[in-house]
Symmetry: C2
Subunit: 541 residues, 2 copies
């Protein structure tokens, strides 16, 4: 039966009796009566006032026979449109609304197939690279006021909202451009994003998100019509917003849990999603626990001076031969290097450690003090002074895309060490919370570009990920987008999202003493307690 596989917009073919003197019920009542008999369940059927006239006209012009499009909301049906016949495709759009990047897929709700994909930089970046500076921008007037009126609109928030809506509209137009469809043929959209991005999109106050006790305005939101936001979809297209759990635990991660299958798993698994934050979920079909920490900046690009996201020209692989000190560098699409993405950064720092160019604290060793001649030669060639500190030339200016050295500076290294320490501290705090050990995990799913590009062996070398059999690590790609697609296609997926939100336990790390202690202990490569990383060579000076 339909019940668990109902798409967000369900087409219902119906043929009503035609009006006569003996059956003179009104057009709307006739349509409602015929439709109610055919809906898969008896939940209320809402017919929005603004839809009555176009619905009734199409129903009548189709000879009281055709296809009703019914939105499947969590607690009711909403009659959205009426077509003369079932179309060949019923378009919907899944959107991963990232802080730095948007990814979207155009889906056919009838076949479940993906028809097109596109991505685009988040246009809000011009108002701030990270979430906190955008919240600052969005609350610029609000912060001056003691109290605000219920109808107050912060101009900063309005600007950010308009920016992201324009960005989504451009992405939508791009998505349909080559396929011959029109944007208003898109009948539904699901949006998966972190809590703050969802607030910006919907124009909700983000003021308290970054202030203790970190309270969003809304986590679970009834689907609204796209027309209410000015999106370039069919005006009655429902927007399914992936529910969030808290300020630092967004719908993107709920999407990830959905896509990874974690919440239905018999064995205990872990999901790691490294975006701006490292967000981690641990659990199985019986329990779920999650936390998030600011582990990401050094890994995602944008913070390190030469950091960039995984795109053509990003160095994604680095190796240093431990004997010859030959440096091998690979970029995405094999073009000239422009910077370092997260996986490249991890490879590089791990290689620098294994080649003993940096020490256990992540500091460049002094080339002048180096006793090994080959290593000394390599260091003299590659290390230069920059801002009174050592910096490592990853790719020399002559070979780089921008005609300038691609450098790793000490400040980037320090950020990397803090990031990897935060990551490991998050993971250990979480596993410790439930009395388990990493060895108990059936699988560690690693989401995002990070998961695809990262070499777990190198992350283990740095002490970022636990020292487990490499087969335990599974890259799952853009699970935020995958979850959004599932939400379009299946009621069971949408229900599971709400179920996950209601049963997940969120561990707040901002005030967690254990986390702070574990973080300090992890500020070494691989760790202050090397017995945790038996596979990693230990270099004591």
């Amino acid at each position: 039966m339909w019940s668990t596989n109902i798409p967000l917009v369900l087409p219902v073919s119906l043929t009503a009796d035609t009006p006569s003197l003996h059956d003179n019920s009104a057009d709307l009542d006739r349509l409602r009566r015929a439709l109610k008999l055919l809906l898969p369940d008896a939940r209320p059927l809402e017919i929005p006032f603004a839809r009555i006239v176009p619905l009734c006209r199409r129903f009548r012009q189709s000879g009281f026979s055709g296809v009703a499009l019914v939105n499947d909301l969590p607690d009711r049906w909403v009659l959205a449109d009426f077509l003369a016949e079932l179309p060949l495709t019923l378009l919907a759009m899944a959107l991963d609304l990232g802080t730095t990047h948007l990814e979207a897929t155009l889906v056919d709700l009838l076949s479940g197939r993906s028809l097109a994909s596109a991505g685009r930089e988040n246009s809000q970046i011009e108002y701030g690279a990270d979430i906190l500076s955008r919240i600052h921008q969005a609350t610029q007037v609000r912060r001056q006021l003691q109290e605000i009126d219920a109808s107050f609109l912060d101009p900063g928030l309005a600007v950010l909202q308009q920016s992201i809506i324009a960005c989504i509209n451009a992405l939508t137009a791009e998505l349909v451009a080559d396929s011959g469809f029109k944007t208003n043929e898109i009948r539904a959209m699901s949006v998966s994003g972190n809590t703050t991005m969802i607030h910006f999109l919907l124009g909700l106050d983000p003021f308290h998100i970054c202030r203790e006790p970190y309270i969003p305005m809304a986590n679970v939101i009834d689907p609204m019509e796209s027309g209410e936001l000015g999106l370039l979809l069919h005006a009655a297209a429902p927007l399914w917003i992936m529910p969030s759990v808290g300020s630092y635990f967004g719908g993107d991660l709920i999407s990830g849990i959905l896509a990874s299958g974690l919440a239905e798993s018999e064995q205990t698994r872990m999901l790691i999603d490294v975006g701006t934050n490292a967000e981690v979920v641990l659990g199985n079909r019986d329990w779920l626990i999650a936390c998030a920490g600011a582990a990401g900046p050094a890994l995602e690009g944008g913070v390190a001076r030469m950091g960039m996201r995984a795109a053509p020209g990003a160095i994604e692989y680095v190796a240093i031969d431990p004997v010859t000190y030959a440096l091998e560098v690979k970029t995405i699409d094999m073009v000239q290097a422009r910077g370092l993405c997260g996986s490249g950064m991890i490879d590089l720092v791990a290689a620098l450690y294994l080649a003993r160019i940096i020490d256990v604290r992540g500091k460049f060793r002094d080339p002048e003090q180096e006793s090994d001649p080959a290593r000394a030669a390599f260091m003299k060639e590659r290390l230069i002074r920059r801002n009174d500190q050592w910096a490592f030339i990853v790719v020399a200016a002559a070979l780089a895309a921008d005609g300038a050295d691609v450098l790793l500076e000490q400040i980037d290294l320090d950020a990397m060490i803090r990031s990897k320490a935060a990551m490991y501290a998050v993971l250990t705090t979480l596993i410790n919370q439930v009395g388990l050990d990493f060895i108990d995990l059936a699988e560690i799913c690693v989401a995002g570009a990070f998961g695809i590009h990262i070499n777990p062996q190198r992350a283990i070398t740095l002490g970022m990920l636990p020292d487990l059999d490499l087969a335990v690590y599974r890259p799952i790609g853009n699970s935020s987008l995958q979850g959004a697609v599932l939400a379009l296609l299946k009621r069971s997926a949408r229900q599971q999202c709400l179920d996950i939100v209601s049963r997940i336990t969120y561990l707040e790390l901002n005030v967690n003493q254990e986390f702070m202690i574990r973080f300090s202990g992890a500020l070494f490569i691989p760790h202050t307690d090397p017995s945790l990383f038996p596979s990693v060579p230990l270099f004591t000076e």
Copy 2:
């Protein structure tokens, strides 16, 4: 318990836990959670997207404690607003949306008391006195087109809609003007009107209402927000539209059935509502049957040249002494006469018949042929030639408000005879349909100004109402408005309206042969079969 007495807007006092690091759910989720525990039943709770920001801000600024205002829709709750504390009054407005006149009452949902009342002429009259000419106006472009687009808006319909909304807004402003309230403090509105007026108000196509098989666009309509129509109420105020049964059986009559108690009565009763149409319902708690016919025009004013609605200066009572031929006339508020309202018209025609000034066909007798000297003198004094026919001077110019004779012309008399014949034919067709006789009726409720002012004895004399004990007739006043008030106050009343619509049988008279035969038989005073009216003197020439 609440269940059956829930007003259209239910105030729910609540106090939620305040946010903390240990309870960091979002403002909206916190409010929803607290409210769901306190709602009288488990139906879905909708929180409209546009309300989220103001709701959450008020909730937070009230310290997470206060009063939620929840609209009680037929199949769900809708959270509309949040107040810091329970107000002293919770305003709602009941509106009787008549073709010629609007009547409104301001009600306090907390106490059930009426706070103010006001009335106003329907401003659409400038576009047509009757419904048909307004439908003509509203479909002026539509009629030129074979097919219309789903988004087509007929400019004529737009004008009529804007006119009635402006008229309602003026009435709303008048209603609160003296009470110290503001219009946006009105939290709900119920509207009771005929099917066409409701179509004009909501901008629904009236095109098919007057075309066989007489199909409205909608009879039962989900409540919408007042903001969607531009009404001067609180933007989230729900509009409860009294459901209708068909093109000629509107929500005003459903209101009347509700107010009269007909649908709950153990004994069989009849309800007569004379507006532009005569609408009649017969039934009890087990069955309901109804029909409507164009019986009203001569009775309501606007058609007869001197006709007017029951207002100051309207002649509401006429008597002619059968011996002295002294003519007695009373006007509403005892001011100078301006015209004749329905009850005055009935009194006058009955008196003219009893005084033998008109014959059984409703024609003025020729004063020249009159043999009785007193009657001849009276006729010579009162009858003048007008348009080649006799006309009766009810009030001479010198005594009339406008300085012109208040006349009853033959054409008015003819319309009156047709109206009374239609009324009686409607009543007999209906009672015959269920195999009953008038004598079986426990009560005949007569609604509207007509019911208050009419003298049933005179209506019986004309053969308009059946010749029954006068105690059977009960005037019930503006039952359309009374029903609208009940719908504001009680869920049971709103449920009953929907129940009435679903179980009523509507007898279509436009194609009813029996009705046409009965109509012809009733074109005499009192009837071609005088045995039906034993109490009425019969004058055979």
